[in-house]
């Protein structure tokens, strides 16, 4: 495939953030190319693959059946002592996706709109001139090639090498990323193949939880996220121990192994530089409680493309003009995600006794509210009642 000397916009990474930015840029009439390092878009996945109906509605995404592995009604959350909270109402319905198919489908939409997507083409460096990002260096089957652009979009996920090469710290302190490990399992028995299960407790997952996201009647993503600074035991070891102690899972097969870092904080006030803009996991745009990043990535991509278009309209590709994106994103998503982050900080500092107490007094709706950064005052009141130290301060009260 011919790669031109220059494009209006170069996007690094063809995940949901990259393809969403590409689609909107192309719709706005810009000449846009997406480079992805992998042979196959969407693989390997680093994701539990869940998405809610509410998010799909907000994104105005009408996804085809082939992207959907399983319909989900809600979740059971288990406290360390086994006490359960059922979280099931309209807002908890959703899908577990087939990410490999979903990510490709998003790329189909971008390509149809006129964007060019080129896989198996890693970006190895940035071209920096006069304090501006002016393009990228790519590896085309072993040969280096320079490709120029007015804007480079960092959609390269949690590694975030592109922002860092531009000199923008993406602040992935190990306390702000969870260490994740996941098996896609088959031949297992679950309590209900239309309900997600979440297992809490510091013995099960230090400062995190184990999740079971059903992908069929007997198939599921079974994974874990623990604090990235936890030294005593690895995520994989926790997960293997958990599976060994659950016969319904232990009898199954492992058909895929995934791992990765899950950003659970570190929202950035400033996600742009001269000629460069960051979207999705690369700039930590996630819900800090459930780690969901697909809807955030797609929303950010649309906003980024609008600000990029503004640069072309003004023929000014400086940080100053791109900053419009910071403003728009914080107004639309940032404020809300910041609240979620505060709840996360609170919950992750709780002891097993605290978590057991919470499971006593909270219902499913409360939990869902907290996961979406709503009704935080209730959490403050409960914390005060149970004398959970520092909670009100953490939540900003």
């Amino acid at each position: 495939m011919e790669i031109k000397e220059s494009y209006d916009v170069i996007i690094v990474g063809a995940g949901p953030a990259g393809s969403s930015t590409a689609k909107t840029c192309a719709e706005l009439g810009l000449d846009v190319v997406v480079f992805d390092r992998n042979n196959e878009v969407g693989a390997p996945k680093r994701c539990g693959e869940g998405i809610s109906f509410n998010a799909l509605k907000r994104l105005d995404l009408d996804i085809p059946q082939k992207c959907i592995a399983q319909a989900i009604d809600g979740a059971y959350a288990y406290a360390p002592d086994g006490k359960e909270v059922k979280i099931q109402f309209e807002g908890t319905k959703g899908y577990v996706l087939e990410r490999k198919v979903f990510d490709k489908w998003l790329c189909y939409q971008a390509a149809k709109s006129g964007a060019k997507i080129i896989s198996k083409t890693p970006v190895t460096d940035l071209i920096l001139e006069d304090g501006f990002v002016k393009g990228v260096v790519i590896d085309v089957h072993g040969q280096e090639k320079k490709v120029y652009s007015k804007i480079v979009v960092a959609a390269d996920g949690v590694e975030s090498m592109i922002m860092r090469k531009a000199g923008i710290r993406t602040n992935k302190s190990p306390t702000l990323v969870d260490s994740g490990y996941q098996y896609e399992m088959a031949g297992i028995d679950m309590r209900d193949p239309h309900m997600i299960e979440l297992f809490f407790g510091n013995k099960i997952a230090s400062r995190g939880y184990v999740w079971v996201f059903p992908k069929g009647e007997h198939e599921a993503n079974v994974g874990i996220g623990i604090s990235g600074a936890h030294k005593e035991k690895k995520a994989k070891e926790y997960l293997d121990d958990f599976i060994a102690s659950h016969p319904g899972l232990a009898k199954g097969s492992i058909i895929e192994v995934n791992a990765g870092s899950i950003p659970v904080g570190g929202l950035m006030e400033d996600m742009v530089g001269n000629g460069i803009i960051g979207v999705g996991d690369a700039v930590n745009q996630v819900n800090a409680i459930h780690g969901g990043g697909i809807p955030e990535a797609i929303t950010a991509g649309k906003l980024a493309a609008q600000s990029i278009k503004l640069c072309f309209d003004m023929n000014n590709f400086s940080k100053q003009v791109l900053s419009e994106y910071n403003k728009q994103w914080w107004e639309l998503r940032g404020k809300h995600l910041k609240n979620v982050e505060k709840v996360r900080e609170t919950v992750e500092n709780m002891t097993d006794d605290n978590l057991n107490d919470l499971a006593d007094v909270l219902n499913g709706e409360d939990l869902s509210d907290f996961a979406h950064g709503k009704n935080i005052m209730k959490l403050v009141k409960i914390a005060a009642k149970y004398k959970l130290k520092g909670v009100a301060r953490k939540l900003g009260f």
């Binding site: 090498m161 992935k172 490990y181 791992a259």
Partner: protein, 60 residues
């Protein structure tokens, strides 16, 4: 002189690049496998603690 670098056990490594995301010195990169730049590594062990698979250790 002491070598500053980490060793990757490729039998355990899932190539998730979690280590790359937490390295404070940008010393790690995912090529066909994880590679460590000895000139940048400071032996802080943050990547070793973080690795979900337990695939990293200090090069001695």
């Amino acid at each position: 002189m002491m070598i500053m670098s980490v060793l990757v056990n490729n039998s355990k490594c899932v190539k998730c690049a979690g280590c790359v995301s937490v390295c404070p010195k940008d010393a790690l990169a995912l090529k066909s496998e994880i590679v460590c730049d000895e000139k940048k590594c400071i032996n802080c062990e943050i990547c070793i603690t973080f690795c979900p698979a337990g695939a990293l250790r200090i090069k001695k």
